[in-house]
């Protein structure tokens, strides 16, 4: 399986996953220390999904994200200094501090935004897909949403629309086993896999192990390729778990205590990736350790910069509501 991979791409994949992990672990610490305002939902544990999907995407491809959006942002190339500053509500943030963690967006990078409203992204990405089709500009759209979000009418509607108009879109449902405290076993008891819902609209649906970067990467690649060739949309379900609470501050009373600890030590996506590529002799531990160190320094720098950055001035309070006044 690793034969078709080049070393530089493996290092790139690892680096992206590590950036996400490091970023999230650091935000976790900084949030607990009290420096970060607002609601923060961390992506740690789910890195293989954003990374495995977005590695197939080009600059003019678009993604729509969720409330748990940091990983998607990083994987789509959004600058981590801007992201960290945005989370801190600073002027230098990706959105000038107006949006915060739940609304980081960078249109130039094809990142249509994290979103505080569950289920809001999929219809938007249909629009991005149809815009690309109408203008003939090329590019595909990928919508990420959770197992919980998959129950929103907007998501079903978007999937159907994308079939009706054969849009160059891929729907990625990130099934981490919980919507806040509620399990998909309770809210979607009629399906074994959430990807089975693809049948309802007649698109292909596949479920993969989300701790396995290579499985996500391969399945996503086929779907994005299909979309790119004008063969229509598909649904990818990625199964894993989140390492932290639903939001920072969640006591997670609804989860067994040692669950996450065990997963971190056994199937963690970074751990598995490292074992696979080193035992195949394609990358050395030392090389991966070097990435770890570099990434740590980058994230450290983003926190230092964000803390030192200026708050938005009072004059920003009334701006950006209309294009013209």
């Amino acid at each position: 399986m690793l034969k078709k991979w080049q070393k530089k791409d493996l290092l790139k994949a690892y680096r992206t996953m590590r950036e996400i992990r490091e970023f999230e672990e650091r935000v976790h610490i900084e949030f607990a220390a009290g420096g970060i305002p607002g609601f923060v939902h961390l992506y740690a544990g789910e890195e293989a999904c954003a990374t495995g999907v977005c590695m197939h995407l080009k600059a003019n491809d678009k993604i729509a994200s969720t409330h748990r959006g940091h990983g998607h942002c990083i994987a789509k190339g959004v600058d981590i200094n801007g992201m960290m500053a945005e989370i801190y509500g600073k002027k230098t943030g990706t959105c000038g501090g107006k949006g915060g963690s739940m609304h980081i967006a960078d249109l130039d990078k094809g990142m249509m935004g994290a979103n505080g409203i569950v289920g809001a992204g999929p219809p938007l990405i249909c629009g991005a897909g149809l815009a690309a089709k109408t203008k003939g500009s090329g590019g595909v759209g990928v919508a990420f949403f959770g197992d919980g979000g998959s129950n929103q009418g907007t998501v079903f509607e978007a999937m159907n629309l994308s079939m009706a108009w054969q849009l160059p879109c891929v729907f990625v449902v990130e099934n981490n086993g919980f919507a806040e405290s509620t399990s998909p076993k309770y809210t979607a008891p009629g399906v074994t896999n959430l990807s089975d819902r693809a049948k309802g609209v007649g698109m292909p649906g596949v479920t993969v192990d989300g701790f396995d970067f290579f499985a996500v990467h391969e399945a996503a690649g086929e779907m994005i390729d299909r979309a790119r060739k004008g063969q229509g949309p598909s649904l990818l379900e990625v199964k894993f778990t989140r390492y932290f609470g639903h939001f920072e501050g969640d006591a997670m009373t609804y989860r067994p205590k040692d669950e996450v600890k065990k997963i971190r030590q056994t199937v963690d996506c970074l751990l598995q990736f490292r074992n696979k590529v080193t035992s195949a002799g394609m990358v050395t531990d030392a090389e991966l350790d070097a990435v770890d160190r570099e990434v740590k320094a980058l994230v450290e720098e983003s926190v230092v910069q964000a803390k030192a950055a200026p708050n938005p001035p009072l004059s920003d309070l009334l701006t950006d509501v209309y294009v013209s006044y």
């Binding site: 501090g97 949006g99 915060g100 919980g148």
Partner: protein, 334 residues
């Protein structure tokens, strides 16, 4: 009791008293609600009375309407008022209009509870005050309690009411009366007289405002968190204002408002929601219609700015005591 406990107590009492009452929403059953308003209710009253739903606001409200039409009294939770928009069609097109279009054949008694308002760094999708979207729709009642005592009595009245009631809970008040001074430690309800809540069933009727402070210089019309902001502004400026806590926006207690404004000759309207087409605009219109010849100054509004609720600059957005106070002074000079 704090406001969370008072709200829970109202649902607990109504679940025990009336088999037709059901409570549901996202994370409401097993988990007990993200703000804990339904904690313990499923264990006590059973899974068929208190239950979880998928993330599906239009479904939650639509189902509640159908249940209400066939004799039940659903009291549902929308986790944050900001998530209500997917349900807005069911609220505006169905709940509010069933009775009218069926010539009174049927109606749906239901309560839609939702935490509202800012001051918790929730940003644009966790801080909104959408009350005017409901008062603008004929056929809905809209309630905004400002303290535990009222919250319990108003929620009981709302559940017993045959009309659809939008019950907006200012989330910044859940644990204590917040006056906009975010830099000071907050006071718990246990230290406030309105945190004293009787154990038994009681009503605070819909359509009755409460005068929180008697005064002669100016009438301040407020609801929710802004009641305490008004109290702080009055204490800081020393202006002898009469503070009216509306408690229900619809039906509105015009009699209390009119009596007060005719006495003071001045009126200020304050709310957290955006200014344009806010509920304050309706209040201004009503006050000038009924009290025009008693007014000694133009009616003033102090509200949130006409923008989405920002992530940064939260306290510049929030209409706190400084803004209310300076408007009060300006008014008294007019």
């Amino acid at each position: 009791m704090n406001m969370i406990e008072a709200i829970r107590d109202a649902m607990d009492i109504m679940l025990a008293q009336d088999n037709n009452v059901v409570v549901f929403g996202e994370d409401v059953g097993y988990f007990g609600g993200v703000f804990r308003c339904t904690a313990g209710l499923q264990a006590k009253h059973g899974k068929h009375r208190v239950f979880d739903t998928p993330i599906n606001e239009s479904g939650i409200v639509g189902v509640a309407i159908g249940m209400g039409a066939y004799g039940l009294r659903p009291c549902v939770e929308i986790q944050f008022a900001d998530y209500v928009y997917p349900a807005y069609d069911q609220i505006a097109s169905e709940a509010a209009r069933l009775r009218h279009r069926s010539n009174g054949q049927f109606y749906a008694p239901l309560v839609i509870r939702m935490p509202t308002g800012g001051g918790i760094f929730g940003g644009q999708t966790h801080s909104q005050s959408p009350e005017a979207l409901f008062t603008h729709v004929s056929g809905l009642k809209t309630v905004v309690p400002s303290n535990p005592y009222d919250a319990k009595g108003l929620l009981i009245s709302s559940i017993e009411d045959d009309d659809p009631v939008i019950f907006l809970e200012p989330k910044r008040l859940y644990n204590g009366p917040f006056d906009g001074h975010h830099e000071r430690p907050s006071i718990p309800w246990s230290k406030h007289p309105l945190g004293e809540v009787p154990e038994h069933h009681y009503h605070v009727p819909l359509g009755e405002a409460a005068v929180r402070r008697q005064g002669s210089a100016v009438t301040i019309l407020a609801y929710g968190t802004m009641v305490y902001v008004a109290e702080a502004a009055v204490a800081e400026t020393g202006i002898d204002a009469e503070i009216i806590d509306l408690r229900t926006l619809l039906p509105l207690d015009m009699a209390t408002i009119e009596t007060s404004v005719k006495k003071t000759g001045r009126c200020m309207v304050i709310h957290e929601a955006t200014l344009t087409s806010g509920f304050g605009a309706e209040l201004c219109a009503l006050v000038q219609e009924s009290c025009f010849y008693h007014l000694e100054a133009p009616i003033e509004r102090v509200t949130g700015w006409d923008t989405p609720y920002p992530h940064a600059l939260e306290w510049e957005y929030f209409p706190g005591p400084a803004r209310v106070g300076s408007a009060l002074k300006r008014m008294m000079e007019a």
